[in-house]
Amino acid sequence: MPRSRSRSVAGGWPALAAQALLLGLVMLAVLWLTRNAATNLQARGIPMGFGFLGLPAGFDIPQRLVPYQPSDTHFRVFLVGAANTLLVAGLGIVFATIVGLVAGVLRLSRNFLGRALATVYVEGARNTPLPVQLLLWYSLMLAAPPPRDAIQLLPGFFLTNRGLYFPTDTIPRLEGFGFTGGASLSLPLAALLLGLIVYTGGFIAEVVRGGLQAVPKGQTEAARALGLKEGHVLRHVVLPQALRVMVPPLASQYLNLTKNSSLAVLIGYPDLVAVFGGTSLNQTGQAIEIIAMLMAFYLAVSLSISAFMNWWNSRTAVWERRT
């Protein structure tokens, strides 16, 4: 909001002096902290710098998208962990959006049962801490029976204490002591995904509800008056308009999901924080460098998601102008 009266730019010399003083203090503090760290690290015999990235890691990582073996370097560990984090975040975002969309629409539906169940789900998911949910899902999955007594969730989907099996081009089949065919998720991955989807889905449902309620009622009524079916009213008239309102809060939910995927460390899924911030850090003691890299990674992901959502936002805005 432009000010009607403007004082001299940036408040004159007292303000300038105060800022210079503040900047000086911040720099002094940084200097002091760095000196402390240098002294402490020297006392413990830990070299500063990123040289450790080239050293062999020497430990195994159970799940990886990037080829890896224990003789690979810590930098490789970083890549494997980052890929694992991105895998969970990507899958989580897609499925949480679907769950949130369904629950959000149901919360506004005419159907009493749908409304009630969606409300129970949304309130339950949002008001229970995610770490507790993750540990609960994981302990329930660990209590699943061994493969020969596998629980068939849906045709072709089997839950066992070794993992979740699902069909791809072939259907998983019990053979000897395990399943062959199809594909599988490890239990930690399955529990992490389930927890992230359930939790974030609840928040996305509220975003969806807010977006739908922001569309003027006249739009729905006009679409009905044109003779569109309920499903088409939702899909072609209400949702496209609601989407514009939903984009900024949706972006922040996606960011939250990505950040929350770091809770993987609680249930032993080898994400970036678990393998690089956990095992690599314990082995090398390079706390400052490793945590700086972790933070840089999450900041980069945050910035990419906001950039993508901004681009999407501008695209939906153009659609509006055409109509």
Binding site: F112, L135, P249, Q253, K259, I291
Partner: protein, 360 residues
């Protein structure tokens, strides 16, 4: 959404609300089947076949949930290892914390929150740690659900003044101040809490002068406070943006300087507008306290995990976590209803504009 009720008889209600169209009927039947499939087994496990008391897992032989793990250790879940004969101090501390939060609930006291909040929390800490005639109780004995409440409320009350300063700084026209505030807020909001907690447990000792040592609880509190202040800054910024410019103009016309305009005119209104956002932010922070066990604090999760690691309670993890989840659900659901009520009350006040942006 208020829809006009077409008819009053139960059958008409069922037809209108459950079977209005063929599609509705399909959805209703599918959801009913889902309920029938899910609810009875859960009810049987959690209530009907459950065991409620016992000394070890062996007592749970009825095939259902083993809630005995909760009842056997309820005192630790509540207050950790705080000495039994001093438990009244935990109760007193809770009352002090409640008093610290009170200005959030009473709108004419809102302006005192920045002072009364930290003071109330400090008093609670004094009672718990021991001042004057009270015996010292080291923080390693503090724990259980009360520790979650303590860290949640303390983090909130200490971070509120910092958050207000950050929010004001972010709106400042002075580039250095604005830049530092934006950098801090965006940095903290961009990284997961768990990395900040790891940072506190591994990095703080590195950055401290050689030989200095920090209490574990103090470290957690520093991290939680800084973390929360970045989120609160965004909540308060929404409130600051919602205070009409005319208020500032009027204050200036009365001859108030910039400092007094901010402290006496703008902030009280901005805080009152941001209260729902502040309470929502508190709910998030309170839920986040379940993560503190990763740095070995014995909050309710830490105590529960200790119990579950005990040989006597092998294999009752689901019950343990379900119980903690239920406790947090009740607390957070209640808080969120309260926050919604505050929001409705605020929006009824004609003299206050709604915030233009309300950060999540």
């Amino acid at each position: 959404m208020n829809r006009p009720r077409a008819a009053r008889s139960p059958i008409a209600w069922v037809r209108a609300n459950l079977f209005a169209t063929p599609a509705d009927a399909v959805i209703t039947l599918a959801l009913l089947l889902l309920l029938l499939w899910i609810v009875p087994p859960i009810a049987r496990w959690a209530v009907i076949d459950a065991t409620w008391t016992g000394e070890t897992k062996a007592a749970c032989d009825r095939g259902g949930a083993c809630w005995a793990v909760v009842t056997a250790r309820w005192r630790q879940m509540l207050a950790g290892f705080y000495p039994s004969n001093q438990l009244w101090r935990v109760g007193l501390a809770m009352l002090l914390l409640a008093a610290a939060v009170l200005p959030l609930a009473v709108s004419r006291w809102t302006r005192f929150i920045l002072i009364a909040g930290p003071l109330g929390v400090a008093a609670a800490f004094a009672v718990l740690a021991g001042v004057g005639p009270l015996a010292n109780v080291g923080t390693e004995y503090w724990g259980g659900f009360f520790l979650n409440v303590l860290i949640g409320v303390a983090g909130m009350m200490f971070s509120l003044p910092i958050g207000v300063l950050l929010a004001l700084g972010r709106r400042s026209r002075l580039p250095v101040i604005k830049g530092l505030c934006v950098a801090f807020i965006e940095f903290v909001r961009g990284v997961p809490l768990i990395t900040l907690l790891f940072m506190a447990s591994v990095m703080l000792p590195l950055f401290a002068p050689a030989g200095a040592s920090f209490d574990l609880l103090a470290r957690a509190l520093v991290v939680v406070t800084l973390f929360s202040s970045a989120y609160l800054a965004e909540a308060v910024r929404g409130g600051l943006q919602a205070v009409p410019e005319s208020q500032r103009d009027a204050a200036r016309a009365l001859g108030l300087g910039p400092l007094r305009t901010t402290v006496l005119i703008v902030l009280p209104q901005a805080l009152r507008i941001s209260i729902p956002a502040i309470v929502n932010s508190f709910i998030g922070l309170f839920k986040d306290t379940t993560l503190l066990f990763v740095i070995a604090l014995l909050d309710v999760m830490g105590v529960m995990r200790q119990a579950l690691a005990d040989y006597a309670w092998q294999g009752v993890d689901a019950e343990g976590y379900a119980f903690v989840g239920l406790v947090f659900f009740l607390a957070c659901f209640g808080l969120s209803r309260w926050s919604a009520a505050l929001e409705r009350r605020r929006d009824r006040r004609p003299e206050l504009e709604r915030p233009l942006t309300e950060p999540a």
